[in-house]
């Protein structure tokens, strides 16, 4: 053992409260005030305008569909356009990585994790708003039970969100967008298939299956959100 090692050992042994010195030093040098509201405002400001426009358009289209008289398929059309909303909303979640801002955003006081949580929160809110706007109209105008609407709109929406998050987490490059689009397109076809099945199978059975799928999607997306929030600190960085 060298002298240096011995000094360090003694220091470590007797330093009962490590970090106190560092903490008080930092307190002396900065007067940062951290408010959750300011980060929410910031993330809202940074939100891609296209996301908001498309969210509004889709909600509007969905509502409009229910106004068509004697049209029994409005729920299925609504169901088919949900993946587009999910695609636009989730695509925005990967923007730090896509634009190589991850490292910069990680070393700031508002940690990237916090920023991402806020982004998820905003995305979730947008999704909820779309559903909350369309479902009552489906119920009033087309007479569809809200729980059926939740299944019909929620399944393709959650499936697309989950798939897109998975793909953007696994593939860092811009090409991941194509993968996400493919997922959204396949999700948009599912309602058409379900509509055909509806005439051949027992409705109750289909609803039960739908409910099971929706529940599984909830679990899957929760897991995916957790991974999304945790991923950065040990990202294998792109080498160049």
């Amino acid at each position: 053992m060298t002298d240096k090692d011995i000094i360090r050992l003694v220091k470590d042994t007797y330093d009962v409260n490590p970090g106190v010195k560092g903490r008080s030093f930092i307190r002396e040098h900065t007067k940062r005030k951290i408010h959750l509201s300011s980060i929410i405002m910031m993330q809202l400001k940074e939100l891609n305008p296209l996301t908001i426009i498309i969210t509004i358009c889709i909600s509007f289209m969905g509502v409009l569909l229910t106004f068509i008289k004697n049209y029994s398929s409005s729920i299925w059309v609504c169901s088919s356009i949900m993946p587009l909303a999910a695609l636009i909303i989730t695509a925005d979640l990967g923007r730090s990585k896509r634009h190589q801002m991850t490292e910069l955003e990680m070393v700031t006081r508002f940690s990237l994790r916090m920023q991402k949580s806020v982004r998820i929160f905003i995305g979730g809110m947008l999704g909820l708003i779309i559903h909350a706007l369309i479902i009552p109209f489906l119920s009033i105008k087309s007479g569809i039970a809200p729980c059926i609407s939740v299944l019909a709109l929620g399944c393709p929406y959650l499936f697309t969100s989950w798939g897109c998050m998975l793909i953007t987490r696994k593939y860092h490059n811009t090409e991941s967008i194509y993968g996400c689009t493919a997922i959204a397109m396949s999700a948009a076809i599912i309602p058409i298939m379900v509509k055909t099945l509806l005439s051949q199978f027992n409705k109750g059975l289909l609803a039960t299956i739908g409910a099971v799928i929706l529940a599984s999607l909830f679990v899957a997306i929760t897991t995916e959100i957790r991974k999304y929030l945790q991923e950065d600190r040990n990202t294998t960085w792109n080498l160049n």
């Binding site: 490590p18 030093f25 801002m101 955003e105 700031t108």
Partner: protein, 231 residues
């Protein structure tokens, strides 16, 4: 002020990028010299808390760098960084300032001050996508300094700078090193020989030399090559 790396090892799968490093860094400019792939970026990322060491701890005056408070006094220029496509130079700085928790007023003041310092005032309203490599690099340096950091980590800061910009940059760093911990990495010896107080040399994940620059009695370039041969 003291930044301490204790038994730091970083493994990427089976590759050991940093091997049991022990260094304590004080106020002043520390130059981290090493060839490409030596492990400089890995060390800097760990110091910034961006990357978790496989083993060991890094602390600032005893405070683990994983503590979020530490980021209040940290300024970091990554080796590679991007920007959101719609950003203009000023937007970029204000965005980083907001993330660093500066209030609007001081962010504005600081932003203009730094734009002037790195010579970008004229193009503050231009999109970053129109910038040259050197301009983008200067913007990166500015964002690192926006919170008046006490610990300034610059990964290959001179990359893309032309000779005139390099001289300007050196003066800036010399000034910052008076009261702060400044660590800059480079594989170009002349980047650090006039401004660094201390030199750390890395090779294959190990620190092969650690000393004050004033104790090196020969040409730094020659010394560097000699140390490399012997290591």
């Amino acid at each position: 002020m003291e930044l301490e790396l204790k038994n730091i090892t970083k493994k990427y799968k089976d590759k050991e990028a940093v091997k049991n490093a022990n260094v304590t860094i004080h106020t002043g400019v520390t130059g981290l010299l090493g060839a490409n792939g030596a492990g400089k970026t890995t060390v800097m990322r760990m110091i910034c808390g961006v990357l978790k060491p496989t083993e060991g701890t890094i602390s600032f005056d005893g405070l683990n760098v994983e503590d979020e408070m530490y980021r209040d006094v940290l300024g970091y220029l990554p080796q590679d960084f991007g920007y959101y496509p719609n950003f203009k130079a000023r937007d970029f700085l204000l965005y980083i300032a907001a993330l660093k928790g500066l209030d609007k007023e001081s962010a504005k003041v600081k932003c203009e001050e730094l734009l002037k310092k790195v010579n970008l005032s004229d193009v503050a309203n231009k999109k970053i996508s129109t910038f040259s490599g050197g301009m983008k690099q200067r913007l990166g340096i500015a964002q690192a300094l926006i919170n008046d950091p006490k610990i300034i980590i610059l990964d290959e800061p001179t990359a893309g700078l032309d000779p005139k910009e390099r001289v300007h940059f050196r003066n800036m760093i010399g000034e910052l090193g008076k009261n702060n911990i400044v660590i800059l990495s480079t594989h170009i010896v002349s980047d650090v020989e006039h401004i660094a107080d201390r030199i750390l040399m890395m090779k294959d994940g190990e620190f092969i030399y650690d000393g004050e620059i004033k104790d090196i009695n020969m040409d730094l370039e020659e010394f560097y090559l000699k140390e490399f041969e012997e290591a």
